[in-house]
């Protein structure tokens, strides 16, 4: 970086080594930059030249190998918190959208033709109905556990991996139960699966959200492994 100051170069290298949410990263880098400027100003006040003061400030800040893991951990934690909040809000919201569509376009589910509803189907469909709320509670609980683990000194990288595991488990669980209901319905009354287009679209929305959360979890793992 021709013409860049020692601090500019250092902050630029730190920027290049960190990955994560843009706003959180900009915030961390702005604070690091402020700290380096403060330190350089102090050294200038003690008689060092501008360049030597910046060099000293950068030395005190620490080599990138010592500094990057802590910063990267915070970015991983920030991403993990966003992912869990997404899970906590989007899944129940999508469920409400689906249920409203179902009530408007289909109404109460009719009985299966010629056969009483099997007990296993009741269990699976009821469990499928509870899943969004279980996921919401799981995500909220994970945010709380993250805070408690932070109090015990657990770093952002470990929290990121934990959050990714929670998200993947929640989404996996939801997909398995949803597919179980679809399969069960196909066995008992296949034509019922041909739902009105708005309900089909709401079902598709569920899978879009699952896919989105899956991508967030994948990124969470990547950010926690740097």
């Amino acid at each position: 970086m021709a013409g860049a100051s020692v601090i500019d170069s250092y902050v630029g290298e730190l920027d290049g080594r960190l990955r994560g949410p843009a706003a959180a990263k900009a915030d961390l880098l702005a604070e690091a930059r402020d700290s380096l400027d403060d330190a350089a100003e102090r050294h200038r006040d003690h008689g060092l030249s501008a360049e030597e003061a910046e060099r000293r400030a950068v030395e005190e800040f620490g080599p990138l190998t010592a500094v990057v893991p802590g910063y990267q951990g915070e970015l991983a934690a920030a991403h993990a918190a966003t992912m869990l909040r997404t899970l906590m809000v989007l899944i129940p919201l999508t469920n409400v959208v689906w249920e409203l569509n179902r009530m408007f376009w289909i109404g109460p589910w009719p009985s299966f033709p010629g056969t009483p509803t099997p007990a296993w189907y009741k269990v699976v469909s009821q469990a499928n109905g509870y899943v969004p709320w279980v996921i919401t509670a799981g995500a909220a609980g994970s945010l709380l556990v993250g805070r408690l683990l932070s109090r015990r000194g657990v770093g952002g990288m470990a929290l990121g991996r934990l959050a990714a595991a929670v998200a993947v488990t929640c989404v996996g669980f939801a997909i398995v139960l949803n597919l179980a209901v679809i399969t069960g319905t196909a066995v008992l009354d296949a034509p019922r699966l041909l739902m009105p287009a708005p309900v089909m679209a709401a079902t598709l929305l569920f899978y879009v959200v699952f896919f989105r959360v899956g991508l967030l979890a994948k990124r969470c793992l990547a950010l926690s492994a740097v």
Binding site: A30, E31, D34, A39, P63, V67, E74, S150, R151
Partner: protein
Amino acid sequence: MKSDALRGHLDALLLATLDGGALHGYAIIEALQRRSGGALDLPTGTVYPALRRLERAGHVASEWSTVAGRRRRTYRLTGAGQRALSDERAAWREFTVAIEGVLGGGPWPEQA
């Protein structure tokens, strides 16, 4: 004093520097150096992620504000942070009394 020796105590030290009131990051580092007579020698770049971790833990809260004409992120202790600091101080006193009892006071008399 090297950073390895400080790692286990860094959270408590940071909380202690905020006991007197809100400070921005570099002022926290200066306070640590001043209160330790310059003995606390750790890369300043490791302090900021530690402050953010304390914020995640709910022990400190922070906000951007203008200090001496410049925008800086300022940290303050929360109620939970105050309680954590009290616990850390009590644990530290207990620890130093126990260690002083064993290591302090010079060589032990020979056992008969």
